[in-house]
């Protein structure tokens, strides 16, 4: 018997604002001037916070962190499409997204200075703590999405970020499968920044795109210019609309680039060229978004100067707030082992405190 066609598949690519800042008028999302400025401010804050945190890290004022520089459109765009009823689950390279969900910079700084208090955003924000175990959060997103569906919270979906490296984990593939089988209201956003520490995307997956992985699970998948804030917003908006109306999950691949080191403990010179970095700097997301706003008459020099000054002031105040907090309950770790404590835990807490008082453990 001759072979017949079992299925034919394709994956599309979306760009609305190109590298030179030219916009596709037909695809341009309808956002008000105020919304556009809010969007831009969020990306700008993320970039500036990275710069300040890098300095602080070098001075020993915070520990290791992974900058999001270059990926602001990829994580702020989708987050801008969310409402307070939607959930956000991230990994660790979406600083601007967390700020947009209400996390103060001073809290992020606490996290990067080694305090759990910095990972505690109120549950009503529907934003989960940073997930360091890559891709583990993708399954949680599916569980949350199922829960929203089960509870009849139709306006609520879960959006989950992960990296290109994380897309190699079994958890991610299991999450895609569960999501599709359950038609759960979840949006997966893979920030394909071309690198997982030193491992290039080409060693991570043989697929030409990460978006096409959606085909195997029979869900919509789209590759998006991840440095194009408008396209990232628009693709997510459509995916969320589908999720909210019972249309199930979507996979979005954001094609972007990690412009800086993996974390402050990493040296990219060991594994990639400066030319590659330079090429991607010419495609970075903030410059083209700013040009778009200026062309549109939404932003001018004066407004830009105001944003710069206000952002600087905010960052200064937040750093001060972070640095004036110098006392932390030493035995807090005993408080959160269980919801109801246990005699053995309390016995150990007493021993711990007595040891501290004896000048034992590094005070």
């Amino acid at each position: 018997m001759p072979l017949t066609m079992a299925g034919e598949f394709s994956t599309s690519y979306l760009q609305i604002l190109d590298e030179s800042g030219e916009v596709d008028r037909e695809l341009e999302p309808k956002l008000s001037d105020a919304e556009l400025l809010r969007f831009y401010r969020a990306m700008y804050l993320s970039r500036e916070a990275d710069q300040r945190m890098l300095k602080m890290q070098r001075q020993g004022r915070i520990g290791t962190f992974g900058p999001g520089t270059g990926q602001e459109a990829a994580f702020c765009g989708p987050t801008f499409a969310l409402t307070d009823k939607d959930w956000l689950l991230g990994s660790f390279r979406e600083p601007g997204a967390r700020f947009m969900r209400g996390e103060p910079l001073s809290t992020a700084l606490l996290y990067y200075n080694g305090y759990e208090e910095g990972n505690a955003l109120s549950p009503d924000k529907r934003t989960l703590p940073i997930a360091v175990i890559v891709a583990s959060q993708t399954l949680h997103a599916v569980g949350i999405a199922y829960s929203m569906q089960y509870q009849g919270q139709k306006d609520s979906a879960a959006l989950v970020f992960l990296g290109d490296g994380a897309s190699s984990q079994g958890d991610f593939h299991e999450a895609l499968n569960f999501a599709a089988v359950w038609q759960a209201p979840v949006v997966f956003v893979v920030q394909n920044n071309q690198w997982a520490i030193s491992v290039p995307r080409s060693k991570q997956t043989h697929s030409r795109t990460i978006a096409q992985k959606a085909i195997a699970y029979d869900m919509p998948g789209i590759q998006v210019d991840g440095n194009d804030a408008l396209a990232m917003y628009q693709a997510t908006k459509e995916a969320l609309a589908r999720a909210h109306s019972g249309g199930g999950p979507t996979l979005i691949e954001a094609v972007t680039y990690r412009l800086m080191m993996h974390t402050t403990a990493d040296d990219p010179k060991k594994y990639r060229t400066e030319k590659e970095e330079k090429d991607w700097w010419s495609k970075e997301p903030l410059v083209r978004f700013e040009k778009y706003l200026r062309d549109k008459g939404v932003l001018d020099d004066k407004a830009k100067a105001t944003i710069e000054a206000e952002t600087r002031q905010y960052i200064d105040e937040e750093i001060k707030k972070f640095e004036t907090r110098t006392t932390f309950k030493p035995d807090a770790s005993f408080d959160y082992v269980f919801g109801t404590t246990h005699a053995e835990i309390e016995k150990q807490r007493a021993e711990f405190l007595a040891t501290l008082n004896q000048g034992g453990a590094d005070a």
């Binding site: 175990i133 520490i197 030193s198 005993f334």
Partner: protein, 326 residues
């Protein structure tokens, strides 16, 4: 003899075993071009090429699963888990298969592999980068668990682990990686897995430690000896599973007092096992209760607090003195 640190010593063991045996393969996340996030595999990629030093996709279960396949068919994989806290993702393959092929096939199929991982705290790292879960791995029959404490025994034990016929979990105290140097001979040196080392003899009290705790324990012992003139025996466990009960028992017979120093949380850990074996074998020689100086049964604190929880030199000194005085 050149003085080198633990990172260089482990690198030396890998380089020499790879040069000697073409079936030795190194694989893991960032182990190739980057030379590993701690630079443990530095230079191996250049020397042996990318078919023997493999930058794998980011998937710990996958790394362990393919390593089992390699080991079943004649290769000697040395897999790296980038950090302790991510190694749990490979447990289903390790426990479900690596540990069982030998017994499952009545000895016909074996899985000679090594899985290395940096472990332990006090390096100001993010969550999941500071765990001490040696006890978890030690509960899997069929799996050996080895923890070196310094450059020289790290090199010798890793050579032994690579040549071992069974799966070996090789846990490297990352706090020690660059903390100090030791003389490590260029020429081959191995140590027997399953044997503890008496690093110092003494008749008044036995202190048992392993991994990063061994170095500060030695300093604590020196302090107490100086202060009190006591003679303290120090046992470096080195092999968590199988554990060298005889060396422990012989020491207790001599000293009658024992302090165990453990970086991991207190309960269900290696110190519990040591205490049980002392009870089984030499209980009546004890002149004081066995003292455990450990972390607490809390979720590994972030680095802002962790140093308050991990045993430090003062706590160890106090524990030794209390047990001497008992």
């Amino acid at each position: 003899m050149p003085k080198i640190n633990m990172v260089q010593a482990i690198n030396l063991a890998l380089r020499q075993e790879m040069a000697k045996d073409p079936n030795v393969i190194v694989l893991g996340e960032d182990v190739g071009v980057d030379g590993g996030v701690f630079r443990v595999t530095e230079g191996l990629h250049e020397q042996f090429g990318e078919r023997r030093v493999i930058d794998t996709p980011l998937a710990e279960s996958g790394i362990m699963g393919v390593s089992i396949g390699m080991a079943l068919s004649g290769l000697k994989p040395v897999a790296e888990m980038q950090f302790d806290g991510f190694s749990y993702l490979m447990i289903p393959q390790l426990e479900g298969n690596a540990s069982r092929y030998r017994s499952r096939s009545q000895g016909l199929w074996t899985v000679p592999l090594v899985v290395r991982m940096p472990y332990g705290g006090a390096v100001r790292a993010l969550e999941h980068h500071s765990e001490s879960r040696e006890a978890t791995y030690a509960t899997f029959p069929g799996v050996k668990v080895v923890i070196p404490s310094g450059p020289r025994n790290a090199r010798a034990l890793l050579v032994a682990a690579i040549r071992d016929p069974d799966p070996v979990v090789f846990m490297e105290p990352k706090r020690v990686y660059r903390a100090f140097r030791e003389d490590v001979p260029e020429e081959e040196e191995t140590m027997e897995i399953g044997k503890a080392q008496v690093v110092q003899e003494g008749g008044d009290l036995t202190v048992i430690s392993w991994g990063a705790m061994s170095h500060i324990t030695r300093q604590a012992i020196d302090e107490v000896q100086k202060r009190r003139g006591a003679k303290i025996e120090h046992i470096d466990l080195l092999s968590i599973a199988p554990m060298d009960t005889d060396t422990i028992s012989n020491s207790i017979r001599k000293t009658g007092r024992c302090v165990i120093v453990q970086e991991a949380p207190r309960s269900f850990g290696v110190s519990s096992e040591i205490t049980a074996r002392i009870n089984d074998n030499v209980l009546l020689y004890l002149e004081a209760p066995v003292k455990r100086i450990t972390n607490y049964d809390v979720v590994t604190p972030y680095f802002g607090r962790e140093l308050k929880y991990i045993p430090d030199q003062q706590r160890i000194e106090r524990g030794i003195e209390e047990t001497l005085e008992f």
